[in-house]
Amino acid sequence: MAETPPLFDAPPPAEQERMVEAILFASVQPVTVADLNARLPHGCDAKAALDALRRRYEGRGVHVVRVGEAWAMRTAPDLGFLMSRETTETRKLSRAAIETLAIVAYHQPCTRAEIEEIRGVAVSRGTLDQLLELEWIRFGRRRETPGRPVTFVVTQEFLDQFGLESARDLPGLKDLRAAGLLESRPEPGAASEGDEKAADHPDMFDTTSDPEDPE
């Protein structure tokens, strides 16, 4: 042949198939054959690689499917029932809820009145209900003060959610400040309140086996 051979040979077909596989997997949109050819090294045959890939995934849990003019990888339609978790809507907790949760975590066991005192506003019934329903807080012992108000404590579920080994591992104010989460200077003596609180209730997590309401 008179033609000079290309400087680099095209990768072998199996390699081209790998490349198409990776591109289809990572792409945020279906990819056209023209697009594939543009992204593959010079001399590749995207269509052939795509066909091979498509055959390889036949009967698997994932398929190579055509979407209009383009191609994408999708989970097999018969396995859709497994995907329900991926589609659950996740929402951020409201500010009221996260603040209430933070107060319970740092000050437990903690009454509703105490939460309101720290937040400076009334706590709506819905906020506490939501946290109870999420099983991030639960009822603790009643406080032995007039009216015997119920207290709230955080749960094991809460610890799991936030990746904590115990509530005593919650960073104190000093740590928050050190990590740059707290900008203002502390009032003298206020710095270690979180720690002191934890020290006040060294056994707060030893009560997990208690019934919700001892009486």
């Binding site: 500010r95 936030f162 960073p171 206020a190």
Partner: protein, 259 residues
């Protein structure tokens, strides 16, 4: 030839020294500077001469001083420590003296330098690894198949901590309100005492001037005592009364001063 090599050494030293001076802000603390200096010894950190290193560091600090470069305090603390270490290493050990030997201190410094260098290398190896989003990739199109109406609330530890930090920060700016029920001001005490002092011809215990209802609760007692004491000082200053106390912690007594 020897002359040429010393000359070039000299130049190289100067270039190195200048580079150090120019970079003084670039060092991440004294340990980092020491590590850089130690590289000029061109030996394994295990065999490093801490004595030479101390000399180099002290020379560097001197040079910085002569160039009027402000060195942060921790550089000077390290300089003082190295000067001490140098003297320990050079002088024969004093059997009378307590504490670790110069060799032990030098070995620890060498360990610290080795450890810092090791962490630097580890960090470099870590960053050189294949990384997500750069060398390997996640699924680009996570699937949205079925619509299951099921709301899941999430919050991260960061959210939680920030919420708490926000609350506590808010607290710090809350106006400071005194609980006035249990506080007696000096003015109140002064008013009371001005009325009563006319009857104090004899030495009387200051505590007896305390108003009813302020002696029981410790908080109220403390406030009333302080304000009455301050008021009696005020009266003494004005020349209206005399004060005496037999000994430390003995009752304080006052008497009208006729004048």
């Amino acid at each position: 030839m020897a002359e040429v090599s010393t000359l070039s050494d000299h130049v190289a030293d100067r270039v190195a020294a200048e580079a150090l001076i120019v970079d003084v802000d670039g060092f991440e603390g004294p340990l980092d500077l020491l590590l850089t200096l130690s590289r000029t010894q061109k030996v394994d950190l295990m065999q490093i001469s801490v004595l030479d290193l101390a000399r180099q560091y002290l020379a560097f600090v001197e040079q910085a001083k002569s160039l009027r470069i402000e060195l942060a305090a921790d550089y000077l603390v390290m300089a003082a420590w190295l000067a001490f270490l140098k003297s320990r290493l050079l002088l024969p050990p004093d059997p009378e003296e307590e504490g670790p030997s110069g060799e032990e201190l030098a070995a620890h410094l060498a360990f610290q330098l080795q450890r810092l260098e090791a962490m630097r290398e580890a960090a470099a190896q870590l960053m050189a690894r294949d990384q997500k989003g750069r060398d390997f990739f996640v699924r680009g199109l996570p699937e949205t198949v079925e619509r299951v109406r099921h709301v899941r609330y999430t919050a991260s530890l960061m959210d939680l901590m920030q919420a708490y930090a926000r609350l506590r920060t808010k607290d710090e700016f809350r106006p400071f309100v005194m609980d006035r029920d249990s506080v007696m001001t000096m003015e109140e005490a002064l008013d009371r005492m001005r009325g009563l002092i006319g009857f104090a011809g004899e030495w009387t215990d200051l505590a007896s001037y305390m108003p009813d209802g302020w002696g029981g609760d410790p908080v109220r007692r403390r406030s009333a005592t302080a304000s009455h004491f301050a008021a009696s000082l005020e009266l003494a200053k004005a020349g209206r009364i005399e004060i005496r106390q037999g000994e430390t912690f003995a009752p304080i007594q006052i008497r009208r001063r006729d004048g």
